[in-house]
């Protein structure tokens, strides 16, 4: 048998086909066909097989060599190009900038869908509003180049820019503006209630729009910089959930809520001032913090906003990156349910406020956030530093709790309901800070949609923690039906006066007074004002430092490689 195999092996080396045929015939001729075949099957084609291996090995080596060669060639070429450019001119401006954001909008239907991610991404970039909002949170000209307000504050006359059009080429004039605002009211689009005092909008002529109010509203102009002021093409239809059609400097090329949105510069953009400086902008949605860091490090994105402050430290030390923290309107509100029997006792609420060590909480988050102390953030009218109203004072907290009848041995049981998007350490910190004063804090760590249903919609909670990102949202403290269930006549009166005020200073004064009363009443503790940390590669210009969570003008962003 071994001889036979040897012979076949030799034959295989010279003539593979013939040898296999031969082996089959000998196999069939043998007495024990099965055994013979089993013994030979692997042997017969083996010569063939080993050559196959040889060929695949050669193929792999050739391919590998090609890949390495081509790679090396292109790397060299690029290097050469870069060197050449370096000699001739300064750095080259990229035609694409990739930005990593944390929150993705689920759809692009800005007329129905909630979420600040939508406003951040679309307003000012794809859609434009009658008046625009700057990174200073102030009102700037938008589609309207100027406006007049009547003395009684009831009539606003807007003068529109000339020769405006939507990205599909349709003309944008006063008709579109009036139609958009009246539709908002009639169809109750998202945030229509912000402009409840707006009675109607009408086109006086092609370049003039008049808005009439039923009552003066000092917030009106500011709200018109947001969703209520957006102007849509009344003659066009588009799939509002997957696309967007506006008059802004960018158009939506593609959108996938799980991945990214791709913007392309609008070739028909009407204005010269906000014309896109970079042809393509890609916004990648990176919900995972570490995924975001990796994407920035590997160059998949040039900007990461926000970046967790504690994770940003290596980038601060790296000269290739710029790290900045900016002011925003995000308020982390630890709300006390004012209708809850245990929390009706003002001493308990005050004690909790005294017991919380805000400095420690901020330090553990990377030390960039700001103390808040009251319902109005720094970027809003009516802000004053209220962090001194309830300074950290454990002794005072314990004394108040004792008066209310609780101590560490006989603690008050409270449940904190908050959404799992905020990280569990916040709850743990509060639990340990409140324990010594006699509060046994149970943490109910839920999904955001559960929080929305249980706390926000049903008002069924004891303590709640959430990031209220909206700006100009003091009205929540003047609306007893809101989930805070805070009802103070004085505050409501002051807020009404602030709305009716015809000058900004007057409005701010009333708001500041109201905010101080709210803070003193302790219906909540404001843990901190989130200062958004952003990191970007050196060479990126034009990314706003402040308010980038709500106002993100992409037209000015450039990247020099």
């Amino acid at each position: 048998m071994s001889q036979e195999n040897g012979a076949h092996g030799e034959a295989g080396a010279t003539n593979g086909n013939e040898s296999r045929n031969e082996s089959r015939t000998t196999g069939a001729a043998s007495t024990d066909a099965g055994l013979n075949a089993r013994a030979k099957a692997p042997r017969g084609p083996k010569g063939h097989k080993s050559r196959g291996w040889l060929w695949s090995l050669i193929a792999v080596i050739v391919v590998a060599a090609l890949v390495v060669g081509v790679n090396a060639f292109f790397t060299n070429k690029q290097g050469g190009d870069a060197n050449g450019d370096g000699g001739a001119s300064a750095a080259k401006t990229a035609d694409t900038v990739a930005i990593g954001l944390k929150l993705a909008p689920v759809n692009l239907d800005i007329r129905h869908q909630s979420g600040s991610a939508l406003e951040q991404i679309l307003i000012g970039n794809v859609y434009e509003s009658l008046v625009s909002r700057g990174s200073d949170n102030k009102v700037h000209p938008g589609l309207a180049k100027s406006w007049d307000v009547s003395k009684d504050g009831l009539t606003y006359t807007f003068h529109l820019n000339d020769h405006m059009n939507f990205s599909n080429g349709d003309t944008l004039d006063a008709e579109d503006v009036a139609w958009s605002i009246n539709e908002l009211k009639a169809r109750k689009y998202y945030n229509y209630d912000q402009v409840a005092n707006l009675d109607k909008a009408e086109a006086v002529d092609a370049h003039t729009v008049r808005i009439t109010l039923s009552a003066p509203d000092s917030n009106m102009l500011w709200y018109l910089t947001g969703r209520p002021g957006l102007v849509y093409d009344k003659d066009a239809t588009w799939d509002e959930k997957t696309g967007a059609l506006g008059s802004g400097p960018y158009t939506v090329e593609s959108f996938d809520p799980s991945d990214k949105i791709v913007f392309k510069a609008n070739p028909k953009y009407w204005g010269a001032a906000h014309k896109a400086k970079t042809e393509n902008v890609v916004i990648r949605f990176l919900p995972d913090d570490n995924a975001g860091i990796n994407a920035l490090k590997s160059g998949d994105v040039q900007v990461l906003s926000p970046i967790t402050a504690t994770l940003a430290v290596p980038f601060r030390d790296n000269p290739d990156y710029v790290v900045k923290a900016g002011d925003g309107s995000d308020k982390f509100v630890l709300a006390f349910n004012m209708t809850d029997a245990k929390l009706k006792d003002k001493r308990v609420r005050q004690a909790i406020r005294y017991a919380i060590d805000h400095r420690q909480i901020i330090a553990s988050r990377g030390g960039v956030d700001a103390k808040l102390g009251g319902p109005i953030p720094k970027v809003d009218p009516g802000y004053e530093d209220l962090s001194g109203v309830y300074p950290h004072d454990a002794a005072k907290a314990k004394k108040l709790m004792k008066e209310a009848g609780y101590s560490e041995d006989h603690p008050l049981e409270l449940t904190l309901t908050y959404a799992n998007v905020y990280g569990s350490e916040l709850g743990d910190q509060l639990k340990s800070q409140l324990k010594p004063i006699g509060v046994d804090l149970k943490i109910d760590y839920v999904e955001f949609s559960t929080w929305l249903q249980d706390v926000h919609t049903n008002g069924d909670y004891e303590l709640s923690l959430v990031d209220h990102a909206e700006s100009h949202d003091f009205y929540k403290w003047a609306t007893p039906s809101y989930y805070y269930h805070y009802d103070n006549r004085q505050v409501r009166d002051l807020y009404a006066k602030a709305l009716a005020a015809t000058s900004d200073e007057e409005a701010s004064d009333y708001l500041a007074k109201a905010a101080r009363i709210v803070s003193e009443d302790a219906p909540a503790d404001w843990l901190f004002s989130w200062r958004v940390t952003i990191a970007y590669a050196k060479g990126v210009h034009g990314f706003p430092q402040n308010l980038s969570q709500t106002v993100l003008p992409l037209w000015r962003i450039t990247y020099e490689k």
């Binding site: 089993r38 129905h112 209630d193 990796n294 929305l452």
Partner: protein, 322 residues
């Protein structure tokens, strides 16, 4: 034949049961899509309006029948939030998740099978001990951790040898950039593949050892002149195949959920991300249909495994006939 029919009837009954279960289980979740869409500025009236718009104010049986009737027509419904057909969404995500699972399985088999065989073939007690420890340790490693290690070793921009993309999937997908699409799945496939390999190694070893201990065929083959290695690999492995097919099938099924973690780590927009996102947004029609599809897939896989078993091992059919 009777077995096949009975198996198919069972399959249909299970699908019905699952549709009811999935529907009921999701109604227990607090919150709905109207609440999510309305957000933190919403008034109760606005939420009620949206609810009516989405038909969420109708009684549950009506909602169920509405959905189930669609399923019978092969219509998985539309996502209330994204406004896209659920089938299309699932299809797009599956184009990432399934290649990833197949690649992981290839890795798992390529590593697990030879190691499992080697663990039986070797007679060196130290080596056997080593294989034993390898199988246990490998199975105990979470895919998340192995994924992180792989990232630190090979991830572009973060790793020691930055050769492979560490994040995301090319936007053009398989048609636009097949090479890059493949490359972006390599690290995740190894991360889950290695962990699954440990399981396959353990099962291979156990199955082969059982068959060798039983004697019979393996001893017979050795008596006919095969070496122990040959007998184990050619006869023993063939006999162990039905068991291994079951294990591979189960590994495949468990990977559908297993790769979700890895998809998250590598920011791959796969099925896992879709499901988690849709549950978070309370897009219940979408979640229902997605879960139903997954369950149907598990069941189909079970069916295929059962039928393959009988094809591979004629003794099963013979035993039933008696």
């Amino acid at each position: 034949m009777r077995f096949v029919i009975r198996r198919l009837l069972l399959f249909a009954a299970a699908l019905f049961g699952i549709s009811v279960l999935v529907f009921a289980a999701l109604r227990i979740l607090p919150g709905d899509v109207a609440v999510v869409m309305a957000g933190t500025n919403a008034t109760a009236a606005r939420v009620a309006e949206l609810r009516a718009e989405f038909g969420l104010d109708r009684p549950y049986p009506v909602q169920y029948l509405d959905w189930a009737a669609g399923l019978l027509h092969g219509d998985l419904g539309m996502s209330a939030l994204t406004g896209r057909a659920v089938a299309a969404q699932v299809g797009r995500r599956a184009a990432i998740t399934f290649p990833l699972i197949v690649m992981s399985l290839v890795v798992a088999l390529a590593v697990g099978l030879p190691l499992g065989c080697a663990a039986v073939i070797t007679r060196n007690p130290r080596l056997r001990g080593f294989f034993h420890v390898l199988a246990i340790a490998g199975g105990a490693v979470p895919a998340l951790w192995s994924g992180l290690l792989l990232l630190l070793l090979f991830g572009r921009g973060v790793g020691l040898l930055g050769v492979l993309p560490s994040q995301g999937f090319p936007a053009d997908g398989w048609t636009g950039a097949p090479g890059r699409a493949f490359a972006s799945l390599v690290l995740p496939a190894f991360a889950t593949g290695f962990v699954a390999a440990a399981g396959i190694m353990r099962y291979t070893r156990a199955a082969l050892e059982d068959i060798a201990a039983e004697g019979g065929p393996v001893d017979m083959a050795m008596a006919c002149g095969m070496t122990r290695t040959q007998a184990l690999l050619r006869v023993g492995l063939r006999l162990a195949t039905p068991q291994l097919v079951s294990v591979v099938g189960l590994t495949f099924a468990s990977m559908i959920t297993g790769v979700m973690v890895i998809e998250n780590l590598f920011a791959l927009p796969g099925l896992g991300a879709l499901l988690v996102g849709d549950v978070g947004n309370r897009d219940l029609v979408a979640v229902q249909s997605e879960l139903f599809l997954l369950a149907a897939f598990f069941l189909t896989l079970g069916l295929i495994i059962d039928l393959t078993h009988r094809a591979l091992d004629p003794r099963l059919a013979a035993g039933e006939g008696e």
